[in-house]
Structure formats: C-alpha cells, structure tokens
Symmetry: C2
Subunit: 147 residues, 2 copies
Amino acid sequence: MKVSKENQSIDIYTQTRNTNFDRFQGKHLLLELYGCNSDKLNDEIFLRCKIDNASKLARASVLNLVSNKFEPFGVTAIALLAESHLSIHTWPESQYAAIDIFTCGKNMLPNLASQFLIDQLEATNHILKIINRDYPTYIENQTRTVL
Amino acid sequence: MKVSKENQSIDIYTQTRNTNFDRFQGKHLLLELYGCNSDKLNDEIFLRCKIDNASKLARASVLNLVSNKFEPFGVTAIALLAESHLSIHTWPESQYAAIDIFTCGKNMLPNLASQFLIDQLEATNHILKIINRDYPTYIENQTRTVL
C-alpha cells in the first residue's frame, strides 16, 4: 500500500524511567486508520480473523478473543495476549478504526502487526503513535507463563 | 490516598487533527501503577470486580469481561465496553500494573475510573498519560448502539 505524506509515525518517550531504550520491552502502539474499506470494518468475523493473524505476526500468543457488533455499524474486537492485548474499534460509516497493539517481551514484532492491519483494512491514511510503557526496570527480563 | 511528588499526569496532544479540544471525545488514559498491593494484583476475581466497578464509575457499559491468570504470578483482565475498552495487566512480583482506559463519548468520566483503580490497588506512585485519539471530526457526535 502506498503511504501518503499525511501518514505519521510518532515515538513518544515522554517521562520514561528507562534511559536505555534498546532494553525497553513494554511497547504500546496506538494506530488510527482512515479511509478504510467500510465493509471490512463492519465484518465482525473478518476482524476477528485479522486480529488473530496480526497477533501471530507480532509473535504473540492469543489466549482469548472477544468481539461485539454494534448497530447499525461498528465492531469492537479484543485479543487477550500472553504478552498484553491487541484491540480494534471500528466506525465503518466514517471509514475509521482505532487500534491498540500493546506487547511486552524482547522478541515481539508489533510493527509487523501494525502494517498488516493497515494493509488488510485498506487504509489510505494512518497515524501511528508508539508509547513506551514505564515498566519497572527489574521486570524487564521476566517472562510470563500461561496456565 | 496521598499522591507523591513522583506522580505525574501528562497530556499528550501531539499531532491531533482536532483543534478544539473541548469537543474531543476519544480519550485514552495510559496508567502505570507502582508499589501496589501484590496480593490484590494477583487476585483475578478481585481485579475483575474492580474493572467492572471502574467501568461503571466512568459511565461505561461493560459488554464482556475476560481475564487470564498467569503462573506463578500475574493477571490480565480486559473489559469490552460499549465505549471502547478498559484493561489491566499486573506483575504482582514487582507491585506493578499497566492499565488502559480508552473511552469515547461526551459524557465519559475516565479520570474517575483511573483514581478508583489507583486507590483500590493501593499504588504508592503512578504515572498517567492522557492521549487524545485522532477521531475524524465528523464522528464526534455519533453514539453507538448495542445489539
């Protein structure tokens, strides 16, 4: 997909407690998609499938996936990940979607998930904000175990 | 609860497309809690209850609530709201929780939910970042209907 000049990617490192960004593992991507395919934004099953695909691309493990269809338009779908969560809220009538990709862990690839969703929803424009979550340094090397 | 000098509240209006902030309705609170009560952070039922309470305080409608307990420590709980979502990820061993309160709508009170969770989890310090989601202006007055 062509990326217009309006598209933006913003790194926000405000007030982080970690000074070594290479070690930082709590990354939260806030993605706004504009000019999307309205039919896809209103298709609950399609969105559930794409959230699952995107999570796998990010190397995340989906533990639960919930969704809700609104009337007359709109869907919310949220994946509970072993590594935090991935959510999408859509307004098909406005061709707009608000997406969150919150991952923790050294080997996560949230940017791949982000680009995948931009492409799949056929967004003509987007804004991506990347927020570092202010984890205590001493939990950076801890991994989580699923029951 | 006493709020220490380390606690911070940051408004990030970067690159927003809306110039009239009073009309802005898509608000995303990113809350980091430190020094929390570890037992509470590891109590899945307690956290589900408090997320439900917090959602109601914010005037949100909980449509679904999912959670997962990790071993040996940690819980993730996410409420799917008619007005977006509220999530909490905890690391009891580090007395740390990462919370998201994403609400859309004119009458939402996400700050009440934020303060409630700070108090209930007995956080000694916190960082709150408030992010405006870049909704298209023309959806600002639209409400969502639950099926």
